[in-house]
């Protein structure tokens, strides 16, 4: 597996994604500069967290026009795997690679450890995770309130595109467990083709016990399973 990590000028989780893939998974990775046009043969594209272009106006709104995003969109179109984490999720929504929008949190910026429940295994980021698994990892964002119309949301749920929900210690998606006001506690989704995944929590920050959690590993390992399937 070769992972291409897109570097926007304000990306700041690009290195963390690199360490997760290279140091922890011992897989290949390549950094892709946002002004370039070449995915350098990467099978999986990661849009990492950060503040791509300062996140002025709306998070991800400007980044989606970066030159490399044309190739990323074409890759997704071909069925290639694209993973958007945090700001990457916002960019993917703005670029309409994923449905919905990520609005300002109902409570301001939130940095803390959350628990998310895996809702589906039929996606490249959950293929190795058991359904109902509760994973603990950090969030750190100001605009992560997943939003779309109720009708679209019903369709999204019906099509099994909701991959992760924020849950409490008992695994229940309660209002208390919802850190940002996301509709129906949604923490991550995929597109209809199931090859583009976006999530607000940071699995790349939960790869080692030294840092408090290694629950993010299974999501990255899922990429491998998916790549070899």
């Amino acid at each position: 597996m070769k992972v291409g990590i897109v570097q926007f000028p304000g990306s700041n989780c690009d290195e963390d994604a690199w360490f997760a893939v290279v140091d922890q998974l011992h897989e290949q990775a390549v950094m892709l500069w946002h002004k370039d046009h070449d995915l350098q043969g990467a099978d999986v594209i990661v849009l990492p967290g950060g503040f791509s272009h300062g996140d002025y106006l709306r998070a991800g709104a400007i980044a989606r026009f970066s030159p490399i995003m044309q190739q990323v969109a074409a890759h997704a179109e071909r069925g290639g795997v694209v993973i958007g984490i945090c700001n990457g999720f916002q960019i993917a929504c703005e670029a309409q690679l994923l449905p919905g929008a990520l609005l300002r949190n109902n409570v301001g910026y939130r940095s803390l450890s959350v628990t998310i429940r895996v809702e589906r295994t039929d996606s490249p980021m959950t293929a190795a995770a058991p359904i109902g698994a509760c994973l603990t990892m950090p969030i750190a964002h100001g605009e992560g309130r997943f939003t779309m119309s109720e009708a679209e949301l019903d369709r999204l749920e019906g099509d099994g595109q909701v991959l992760f929900r924020y849950v409490n210690a008992d695994g229940q998606p309660t209002p208390d467990a919802n850190p940002n006001g996301s509709m129906r506690n949604i923490a991550g989704i995929c597109n209809a083709g199931r090859n583009v995944v976006g999530l607000m929590p940071h699995p790349e920050r939960a790869m080692e016990p030294l840092l408090g959690s290694s629950d993010g590993r299974v999501l990255f390992e899922s990429l491998l399973v998916a790549a070899n399937a």
Partner: protein
Amino acid sequence: MTATPRQGDPVISPALVAEHGLTPAEFDKLVAMLGRQPTFTELGIISALWSEHCSYKHSRAVLRTLPTEAPWVLQGPGENAGVISIGDGLAVAFKIESHNHPSAIEPYQGAATGVGGILRDVFTMGARPIAMLNSLRFGSLESPRVRYLVGGVVKGIGDYGNCIGVPTVAGDIMFDAAYDGNPLVNAMCVGILREEDLIRAKAEGVGNPVIAVGARTGRDGIHGASFASEDLSHDSDAKRPRVQVGDPFTEKLLLEATLEMIASGNVVAVQDMGAAGLTSSSAEMAERGDVGVVIDTLKVPVREQGMTPYEILLSESQERMLVVAHKGREEAVRAILAKWDLHAEVIGEVIAEPVYRVVEGDHVVAEFPGTRLVTDCPMYTPEAKEGAAVIALRARDVHAIPPKAEERDLAWTLTRLLSSPTIASKQWVYRQYDSTVRTSTVLGPGAADAAVLRIRGTTRGLAVKTDCNGRYVYLEPRVGGRIAVAEAARNVACTGARPRAITNCLNFGNPKKPDVFWQFKEAVGGMGEACVALDTPVTGGNVSLYNENPHGAIYPTPTIGMVGVLDDVAHATGMAFKAAGHPIVLLGEPTAELGASEYLSWIHGVVAGAPPACDLTRERALIDAIVEAIQGGYVNSAHDCSEGGIAVALSECCIADTLAPIGATVSLSPWDALPDRALFFGEAQGRIIATASDLPALLAVAAKHGVPAQVIGSTSPAASGLVITGAGRELRASLEELAYAYHGALERALSRAVSSELPVAEVTA
């Protein structure tokens, strides 16, 4: 050549000189230095350079007494940041700086630009920032203005650091009416570099180009440096346009481009354009390199039409840097900056002639002979005399203060203390800070007495913390100065790190007042003693004077930023009890001391008595012991006793881990003879509560270092709560009530403020 006035320059009158903050004697010195009357531009330059903020004219003599050397110190005071070696060819650059005055006027932008400035100080040394800390002091939360300031400052710090992608991992906050009207906002940045990449901000090489990099220069913040050197009075509101606005995104570009530029070998020196902007950065770089420099203001990229040299030189527009490049490498420098969408403009040159010259095209608007523009400032040693009121307060017998009726229940007192904003959990604050980005935060805010970061590629870790109890310093400055260092060191040691060096931010009132200058001299003296005893030299810092308003000065607050190194980061130790059944050991001993405590202040509204004594030999032994015990693997948790004493410290150990609280049953009967309030809530120094994984080994290490160690109880299941007996009394509390008091207090106290702060905070995306 000589400088001549520009058309339209105001006439230099005594009133204009006074407006620029120069005394008549200082003005005479300027005239003597030039051998003629200054131009308006020159007056502006000197007003900035000789401001307290840039020249340290009231503090330099005292600062010289601080210890600054150790084998591991690579760069002491005088540079953008201090640097120490941490082994494996790696070094750490770190510095703390205040942004008190701007934050008092516009909390969001004031705090944000404070973070931006300290980040630049670190990355201009060639270091990649890896952690931010912040030390905050606010007035009473009863005041809506204070709540507004808290909300704005915290959001400003958070938004800036979060956007840059440097984790904010630790800090400290205290609330006291002494800071009403004069909040303190001190930000610290820690960066890492390879020793050989260290670069100093020293202009060198005649003919080398001087390049302005980054944001364009606008009219914002003109005279911020001299503004930071005045008391805040009511007409400070009129000075609002001086406030600067931060752009963290541009700063991120600047950070990446600067590190790339330094790595490329194309540049000689890099300096942040901070306070007094272009003027101080160019003058300081020239001074360090002992060379002359010429700047052409027409070449400086500006944001607005018609800016005068005076405005261009003194603007404090953010996210700008001054770079001296190797001659002929201008294009290479430009190419790196272009990659990051940044502009660079050659605006001047290093010259052999020992002058500081500013031209506007072919018109010389300022020219100073010599290269010691900053240090040739007049120096002062004001009168120092302790205030009579403080002497009386210190002498007061605080044990004579009768307890309140409710205090018959010790749990009442404890829960009240736990919800004092100074003691309560700062979760409301650090949940607004990204503390986990860069995937190196081993122990983040709230998890331990200091934050711990791993150093990639090694087994080592770095521990960092800020501290200072201004109330102690107020009541007895020398002791308070010592304690600030000792507590910071203890906090770092409690994680298993050997304290290595400090940076400091000296926040005081008006130094021209004898009692304030006495506080300053004494506090710095105490700080220096502690640094010698603990082997933690001072590598840099910042002085912020004139923190006062018509109602009086702040508590003298010499904030310490401590850096320590863990040999093995796998041993990093938090403060939370880990499991039931672990023996609890008290290292150090309780005393009868109660003076200057949070107990007296919060429960009785009394600020009096002497602060606890600080025996530096015992502090050193305690630190040596805890570091050795943790690195030996004998310790499960460690937490020092600070504000609120042993009862608060034990409570924090029980409830720090919100998901898995642990109970404790403790007997303090060896000290039954002590007054009960001192035993439970007194703030005797030099104490650590540790749980042992290997009790005999822990006790043996303590004995080896001559540190008193007592098994005082053991941890228990959460349901059994916290039980402490001693001095003939018993304290019983459930963990739920302790957690409610501690974890939610700040949020409850601030809840009204949060909403009233919102729209302003929405200024940036």
